[in-house]
Subunit: 205 residues, 2 copies
């Protein structure tokens, strides 16, 4: 949006794939995810994005604001994918398996969202924290509804649906901790195994 594009030529390059803001977000995401919010300085982010600090502050009013913009963008993406996955499939078991697969795959591309959900929230302002917690809750409700549907129609029988949801999401998030592209299993294989683990847990745990 915005994108005034001062120059006359409105050629069909259809939005440059790497605008400055895009590069900034990607640099910030990669750095935050690998070292954590507090360990990353704005100088480092700016350098990685090919900007100076002064220019960085044109896109975000503070380091926290930059973090928040990044997290909003990534939550929007993973939540959209989750909604789509949860709507695909005729049975709760199929829908949950799709959800798990989508989430494991999203993990690797948008791992910032989950890696930064621990200590980082203790560091930022209460207002920012509240917003991020709300986004996380919105995401988790998608899972809650699928599990509830499965309980209602008898295909799931978890001892405690809430704890089952926590454990399953936690299992998925864990993949980002050890996954390496050159590992023993492909990401597709991993997401398949995890989805069956989740179903096993919902049927008996």
């Amino acid at each position: 949006m915005k994108r005034t594009g001062g120059s006359a030529k409105n050629v069909d390059v259809a939005e440059p794939p790497s605008s400055t803001e895009q590069r900034l977000m990607e640099a910030a995401g990669a750095l935050f995810a690998s070292k954590g919010y507090s360990a990353v300085g704005i100088r480092e982010i700016a350098r990685e994005a090919g900007l100076t600090i002064g220019s960085l502050y044109h896109y975000a009013s503070s380091k926290e604001d930059l973090f928040l913009k990044l997290m909003r963008r990534n939550y929007a993406r993973v939540t959209a994918r989750a909604r789509e996955a949860a709507a695909t499939g005729s049975t709760p078991a199929e829908r949950l398996a799709n959800l798990v697969r989508a989430h494991v795959l999203a993990e690797v591309s948008d791992s910032e969202v989950w890696r930064l959900n621990r200590s980082e929230l203790e560091v930022i302002s209460p207002e920012a924290r509240a917003e991020l917690v709300a986004l996380r809750d919105e995401f988790e409700q998608i899972w809650r509804r699928v599990i509830e549907d499965g309980v209602a129609d008898g295909s799931f029988a978890p001892e405690d649906p809430v704890l089952a949801r926590f454990s399953i999401i936690q299992m998925c998030n864990g993949v980002a901790l050890w996954y390496r592209p050159d590992g023993r299993l492909t990401l597709d294989e991993i997401s398949d195994v995890i989805s069956r683990q989740a179903l096993a847990l919902l049927r008996a745990g």
Copy 2:
């Protein structure tokens, strides 16, 4: 160890329960766990422990050294508890359930160990990182052996034993993220549920 104790009186107070070093470690552990390694300054740690920065450096040669000492101490504790739990019980299923219960309980008291296992390792020196990774691996081997025993005697049939181990440990670690003492379930109830989830996962996932 060391503990020269320059003063003459070797009275039987049997080591004060809250020595300065103890207080320092507790303060550092609580702060590191809640905000992350990078977000905590040595000033804050010193203040919380009731010391000045100068005194803090009498107990550790650097911030990283302090972190390392803390993590060694906590890993020793959780690993010892895990070993004990894994040795208690006649069947692999019982031993694994004990392991899960012990780990979930340890989570809350020594949560630093697990909370600091992500981005923090990217921030510290390679030598320190290698040592902590080795301690984590040692801990995970305890789980690996129990799972292998269960596979060998046919009581477990996980699709992928390694992924099952990762997921189960991840499930346990997740408890520390949301557990509150005034919550719906007690820690004992939670650890029981998680242990059954783990068994469900090992039998069919």
